[in-house]
């Protein structure tokens, strides 16, 4: 559009605007303009304040600019998990710890136990009698006489339940929106030449960086071309051999995971209760988590996946199986053996989790040292062919997910565990940033950052959060709480506290509706059965709608080709996989454009 055209249109728009405005009363117009101006200024100031207060914004922009969106996604994930922990800390501290501290300001520590330095590592000893763990909370309804009452049992239960529900809702929401935006709409085929071409970053201004990116792009284009050729050309015996190798490596990796789990089980059932020796189990667990993934990465040399993305997925799945099987075995041991053996077993489990969290932190720091610093030194000074290392996003994100799983399991047993987690994540952010800047180079391949992020959130939801939630739910629903300590002592199960409360409410007329909801909705099986049935019916209906739309898209594509080539009969055989309504609308638009082009 030429300059005069633009000026003409702008003049017309302004004239229309001023005509509309000049029709109103003068003073009203003045008032409303001033008010709206004030609001806009206020809004702009608030956005500016929010941006300056936002945590780590400058650092993350710097990292993103130098290392790209793949590495930036690790730091964004870390910040997001930190928010979960901050919220958990606020909720637990506010509703559980503060009332306990108000009514019992000094913890009743038995004689002979004093604070030695070792508690920071083991979490036992002095800490085990404080509000750090489940055992430090009383079961009485606080408050006497004139002051308002505070039912500690209900507070504990509802705080943990509300936090878990909100976490679950936040995870499901972000998983679904991430899935919709980045997975379904993105190209899921092999290669994706357009993706590579359009991923050129216009904000790169350094001459050397531009040359490096051109090199990387050329290498990736060549790789994607050779991938497409390779898939078609393998003979049958080669393919059988490849499948045999895959089967072997998967059996080996799963076997190693189960073997590690079994060894952890035997170690934990034989472990001693003296303070220093309790550190042995977390040490072994963290050592396994550090060393066995290195074995898994050796498998890369034997297997030949056709697609480098499948390789990354295989590594991720193996690591997740390893970590979750170890955690599963530990949870089983705690639920079965510890719950029956010790008197204040929830605090013991809390202490074990505390030790795992601390040891995991120490090992992450060690891993950063070996993985990045030493690799850099070896790569630049000793074996020049290895080169400067790249930041391994997958391995680091899986470490974060494991750490967060520990925190989620620990919410019930140790309400103040989020404090440790917050400190850990804070230190980890700065540590990783420094290590990244000093030791690593920007990644060579333009990774699918958006799709990987969806997968990480999905892993955070499915084995990690759901596993933690089911363990806490099992503890609350079925296991008898210990009778010497904690807010639920003396009850059959933790959930009985709710039953007792409902019985109390039943005596008051005003709350009959709550009791009715409890008895006929929450405790009745028919309700859940009906809800599940209705949800299944809706899922079936939506699936039929989606399939109908897929068919519509295929038909529209065929019609576009027919209309543009002038033929009106005979379908051409095209099948393209794309299943969202937006594609359908685009096809309708293109079809109309084709039609208008031909008939104009």
């Amino acid at each position: 559009m030429s300059f005069d055209d633009k000026k003409h249109i702008r003049g017309q728009v302004l004239a229309l605007k001023s005509f509309k405005k000049s029709r109103q009363l003068n003073c009203f117009a003045d008032c409303s303009t001033t008010v709206s101006l004030a609001f806009r200024r206020c809004g702009a100031n608030m956005t500016l304040a929010k941006q300056t207060l936002e945590l780590w914004r400058g650092t993350m922009k710097e990292v993103g600019g130098k290392f790209g969106t793949g590495v930036l996604s690790y730091f964004k994930f870390l910040k997001w998990l930190l928010m979960f922990n901050i919220f958990s800390f606020l909720v637990n501290f506010g509703f559980i710890t503060i009332p306990q501290l108000i009514y019992h300001p000094t913890p009743d520590i038995p004689a002979g136990v004093s604070f030695k330095g070792l508690e920071i590592l083991t979490g036992a000893g002095y800490f085990s009698h404080t509000v750090m763990y489940y055992g430090g909370y009383s079961n009485k309804t606080q408050g006497t006489g004139g002051r308002s009452e505070y039912n500690m049992q209900l507070a504990y239960f509802f705080t943990v339940a509300a936090y878990m529900v909100l976490c679950g809702a936040a995870l499901i929401y972000s998983m679904a929106s991430s899935f919709r935006k980045k997975y379904v709409l993105a190209d899921s085929g092999l290669g994706g030449a357009w993706q590579l071409l359009c991923s050129w970053d216009f904000s790169v201004t350094n001459e050397k960086a531009v040359r490096q990116r051109k090199n990387n792009l050329r290498i990736q284009l060549k790789e994607s071309l050779s991938e497409k050729i390779q898939v078609a050309l393998l003979p049958l015996t080669e393919r059988l051999k490849h499948y045999g190798v895959f089967l072997g490596t998967w059996l080996l990796s799963t076997g190693m995971a189960l073997g590690c789990g079994a060894s952890v089980y035997f170690l934990s059932s034989g472990s001693l209760l003296e303070e220093a020796a309790t550190l042995l189990l977390p040490f072994v667990v963290s050592l396994i988590n550090l060393v066995v993934p290195l074995f898994y990465s050796l498998f890369k040399k034997i297997e030949h996946y056709s697609n480098p993305r499948m390789q990354v997925y295989a590594i991720i799945v193996r690591n997740v199986i390893l970590k979750m099987s170890i955690l599963g075995i530990l949870c089983y041991y705690w639920m079965k053996d510890v719950a029956n053996t010790f008197s204040c077993w929830e605090s013991i489990v809390g202490q074990a989790l505390y030790r795992l969290v601390i040891m995991d932190f120490l090992f992450i720091m060690l891993g950063s040292f070996f993985g990045e610093f030493l690799s850099n030194v070896i790569g630049t000074k000793c074996i020049q062919s290895l080169g400067v290392p790249e930041f391994d996003v997958a391995r680091n994100v899986l470490d974060l997910i494991y750490a967060q799983t520990l925190a989620w399991i620990g919410i019930y047993f140790s309400p103040l565990l989020p404090v440790i987690q917050i400190i850990k994540f804070f230190i980890l952010f700065y540590l990783k940033k420094v290590s990244l800047t000093l030791n690593c180079q920007p990644p060579r391949r333009a990774g699918r950052a958006a799709q990987m992020q969806t997968i990480f959130i999905a892993i955070l939801f499915f084995p990690s959060f759901v596993g933690a939630l089911s363990m806490v739910a099992y503890t609350v629903w079925i296991l008898p709480p210990s009778d010497k300590c904690g807010p639920f002592r003396g009850l059959n199960t933790t959930f009985s506290a709710i039953q007792i409360w409902m019985d109390d409410l039943n005596r008051v007329d005003a709350f009959q509706w709550t009791v009715w909801i409890y008895q006929h909705v929450i405790r009745s099986e028919i309700f859940y059965f009906l809800i599940s049935l209705i949800i299944l019916v809706f899922i079936y209906i939506f699936r039929q709608i989606t399939q109908g739309r897929q068919l519509l898209i295929i038909l529209l594509r065929q019609q576009i080709v027919n209309v543009s080539s002038g033929e009106l009969s005979g379908p051409t055989c095209l099948v393209h996989q794309s299943c969202c309504v937006r594609s359908g609308c685009v096809y309708v638009m293109m079809l109309l454009k084709c039609r208008s082009n031909i008939f104009s």
Partner: protein
């Protein structure tokens, strides 16, 4: 007449007040590029060489195409007025929408300015992004394979070229596009 004129000015003022500082900063950078004689001309034009000396555009492989696309000069020499310069900055800012960015990206990639991306345009695009010298280019066989892959992916009406709607359709499936087209 007097009251309506003053009201008009006040409305314009309230609109412009919000973006005043951005406006002045852009104007300052533009006038730095002008030579002394041109400053007093009513609508000054900056020649293409001066625009290419900006640090944001200096190493960009598409710098010449960007100048040609945003230039409104009749001589097609890539020179920019202040109006064109503002268009350039706004198209590459982070508040421009996907439609605007994909529209301009299409025009930048359309090397022969015929409104579609055919094989020649795609070949020039790939060469721009991989390197100009002979040892850094793709071989002819690889280029042919790559172009046929691209057309297979994005040419929906099978006419051998990628038009604007097909391009926008492909771009809408790439979630990182908006962030990467920024200066």
């Amino acid at each position: 007449m007097g009251t309506t004129a003053s009201q008009l000015r006040k409305d314009l003022l309230s609109e412009y007040q919000v973006v005043m500082h951005v406006f002045f900063r852009a104007h300052k950078r533009f006038s730095e590029l002008l030579s002394k004689e041109d400053r007093n001309v009513p609508t000054p034009r900056v020649p293409m060489e001066k625009v290419l000396s900006l640090p944001e555009l200096k190493s960009n492989p598409f710098r010449k195409r960007i100048c040609h696309v945003f230039s409104t000069s009749d001589m097609k020499d890539g020179s920019l007025t202040f109006e064109d310069f503002l268009d350039l900055l706004s198209a590459f800012s982070d508040s421009a929408t996907l439609e605007i960015k994909s529209h301009y990206a299409f025009r930048i990639f359309d090397f022969d300015d015929d409104g579609t991306l055919d094989g020649g345009d795609l070949e020039k695009l790939v060469n721009c992004l991989t390197g100009e010298t002979d040892d850094t280019r793709l071989t002819t066989e690889e280029m042919r394979q790559l172009i046929s892959n691209i057309l297979e992916e994005s040419d929906i009406d099978k006419d051998g070229t990628v038009n604007l709607s097909e391009f926008q359709h492909v771009i809408s499936r790439s979630p990182d596009f908006v962030r990467s087209v920024q200066i």
